[in-house]
């Protein structure tokens, strides 16, 4: 079982020249990063008006995620703490401007000028106390406050994260909310260990229809037909719509199985060749409570 990079060394040490090169020459990593970036961009829900936006790529590293932003026609400014990774980004001629900086020190970007922010596999590094002067909470606070400030009203921030555990995820979310963000967590493919990916989707501004937590992928894998996909079975999204009263994590109940579903299942069984009672007016009728 590979250990987490976050437990090995601080990011500017872990991502040295050798690691940076290894990271960026692995076709597997490149592909994964591209997928994650595309999904993050999708979750960013930028208006489809053909006007390029100004985005932040936090923890842009060697520019893999930035490439996705450029390909979608947007302008971006990237932040990273590892000079080695940024050097690789320069080599790869990343289109966005790169800044060597520590997100935990605050972004230093002017208020209200950014149209959206993404971060791929980076924000969880904030939870580490790598130096004696580091206080993760102070850093999380600094980061989220400065991010909230620089985003335009209604802009979103989407972070793909690898939290070590639930406590870490709650910590990150907590500081985001305290800074004024609304939003929640989207978990794609929650049941697959390999494919499971978590995205923090945060909005800047009052909660509205557009800030409702987007639908996660991969929940429908076990359901029997496409019609049920809107039924949100085993939904794993955590909604935090009111920053002052955070709702505890809710697991939505399975939708009550209607007559439609029962009839479909019976048809399936018949096709398999099982002995199934005939469909009558009594099929899937609500029974008395004591049944």
């Amino acid at each position: 079982m590979t250990s987490r990079p976050e437990l090995k060394a601080p990011p500017e040490v872990f991502y040295n020249d050798e690691e940076a090169r290894k990271y960026t020459s692995s076709s597997r990593i490149i592909e994964i990063q591209a997928q994650l970036s595309e999904r993050a961009l999708e979750l960013l829900a930028l208006p489809d008006d053909g006007v390029p936006k100004l985005l932040l790529d936090i923890g842009c590293g060697s520019g893999l995620s930035g490439e996705t932003l450029t390909e979608s026609g947007h302008q971006w400014i990237g932040f990273d703490i590892s000079l080695s990774m940024l050097d690789v980004a320069l080599e790869r001629e990343a289109e966005g401007d790169l800044i060597l900086g520590d997100m935990g020190q605050g972004l230093g970007v002017r208020p209200g000028v950014i149209d959206g922010a993404i971060s791929i596999s980076a924000v969880q590094w904030l939870c580490n106390a790598d130096k004696s002067c580091h206080e993760p909470r102070k850093r999380l606070k600094s980061f989220f406050e400065s991010l909230y400030r620089c985003l335009a009203r209604g802009a979103r921030a989407v972070f793909q994260v690898y939290p070590e555990n639930l406590a870490q995820r709650e910590l990150i979310l907590g500081y985001a909310m305290r800074a004024g963000f609304a939003g929640g967590v989207v978990v794609d493919f929650p049941h697959s260990t390999k494919r499971r990916k978590e995205y923090l989707v945060l909005t800047c501004g009052p909660p509205s229809l557009s800030s409702a937590t987007p639908k996660a992928k991969g929940e429908d894998e076990e359901s029997c037909s496409d019609e049920e996909s809107s039924g949100d079975e085993e939904n794993q999204t955590v909604s935090i719509s009111d920053r002052h009263r955070p709702r505890k994590k809710q697991k939505l109940n399975k939708k009550v199985k209607g007559r439609e579903w029962v009839l479909r299942k019976k048809e399936q069984m018949r096709r398999k060749g099982n002995a199934v009672p005939l469909d009558t007016k009594y099929t899937a009728r609500k029974r008395k409570a004591g049944f």
């Binding site: 100004l54 060597l100 335009a152």
Partner: protein
């Protein structure tokens, strides 16, 4: 680093009330051509601190940008082209960004500004 980015950055040092704009000390400027996109420029115009942009572009060696600009000037293709050139095509490759309040210098190498703060500045 383009002037677009310079226009967005402010000094993050603890205690600084007005860290914008960062003064530019030029050592090397590079001009890179970027696709001209009027929609993007019009969008950005509202967010840009125009005065800071004009000053910065003069320091970088480009004097074509008019001192003042009104939104109505965005209709003129001529102005848009100059705006585009100053905002997107002038790159500070080597130099320094200086905090206007504390004088602290942030070096710029290969176009990448080093904004890492020391422990006592956070």
């Amino acid at each position: 680093m383009r002037l677009l980015t310079h226009n967005m950055l402010s000094s993050n040092i603890k205690g600084v009330t007005n860290g914008f704009p960062l003064r530019i000390e030029v050592e090397k400027v590079v001009e890179k051509s970027v696709d001209f996109n009027p929609d993007f420029l019009k969008n950005m115009f509202a967010k840009i601190e125009y005065k800071a942009l004009v000053e910065a572009s003069r320091i970088m060696g480009y004097a074509e940008l008019p001192d003042h600009a009104e939104p109505s000037m965005l209709e003129s293709d001529d102005f848009l082209r100059k705006f585009h050139h100053a905002l997107m095509e002038l790159h500070l490759e080597e130099g320094t960004l200086v905090c206007p309040e504390t004088g602290r210098k942030f070096p710029v190498n290969k176009g990448v500004p080093n904004m890492l703060l020391h422990e006592d500045e956070v």
